[in-house]
Structure formats: C-alpha cells, structure tokens
Symmetry: C2
Subunit: 85 residues, 2 copies
C-alpha cells in the first residue's frame, strides 16, 4: 500500500465531516544517529509558508512529533476556515 | 491506524536500505470544488525551505501530485546525500 492509498482510505471515513482540512507529514529516515534534528526548525518554516496560502490561526493547527533511533516523524493537522481566503 | 503507524511499517520494510530519506506529504481535503489549487505553488516553496536544511539537487527529488473532486495529495520523496551537510 502506498501512502497515497492511505489518504484515499481516510478520505472516505471522514467524508461526512464538512470541514476542509490540510494535513502535512514529514518523515525523516536517519542513518546518522547523532546528527541534530532539524525538523522542529523546519516545522516552523513550513507553517510560515502554509500561512501564506491559508488563513489559519495557531489554534487551528495541531502538531505531533515522534522520534526514535531511526526515524523522526512530524505530523501537522490544520482545520481550514469555512470560507476560502 | 494512524498515519504515524504507517510510517513505522514502511520503516521496517526499508530498513535494509542505508540511504537517508525525507518524505513529505500534503493532503488537502476540499469542500469548495471550484477553488483553484494552491498546492503546486506551495510545493515550490516547501522545496525551497527544505533545501535550506538538506543539500539536495532537483534530481534527488521526486514529486507525485494527485487530484480528484474531493482531495489533492502531494507527495515529495527526497533521497538525502550520504554525508550530512
């Protein structure tokens, strides 16, 4: 299953919800274990870019960051306002 | 299953490959069907942000964009160079 298929599955299950949503995922497979992570800083800049396109406040954005030895994953979920900008 | 679980599954299956990778996904659930898409432009700016952190040329980046009536999905796969910047 590709990741795009995953989005198709979740789309069906959330079809009854009228809210417009934007979901961003960043996965970093690391081979250099002691390398400092740049994802938290990258996250800030990604949000700045997105806020140029969609009119959302920080309270409409939820961020989930997970990290283990081999991988870091950043998940950003944004509920968009009812009217397009 | 959450999307983060999906990344955990793919991590195991790709563990034998030593290359460091960065994967970005953007899914936009749309409720306004005739709204113009901003994902292609957003994609350009996201890549500009990412290239500040990782030293990759355009030939290491593959982009997949899918669109239907209800959802747009942008997938960016980056193979990172062997040495960290």
């Amino acid at each position: 299953m590709s990741l795009l298929d995953y989005f198709k599955i979740t789309k069906v299950s959330s079809a009854s919800v009228a809210k417009e949503r934007l979901q961003i995922l960043v996965a970093h497979e690391r081979s250099f274990k002691n390398q400092p992570s740049y994802l938290p800083q990258l996250q800030k800049e990604l949000l700045q870019v997105i806020q140029k396109y969609v009119n959302v406040g920080n309270d409409s954005i939820s961020v989930n960051f997970e990290q283990d030895e081999h991988q870091e994953t950043l998940e950003v979920n944004i509920v968009l306002p009812d009217k397009p900008r």
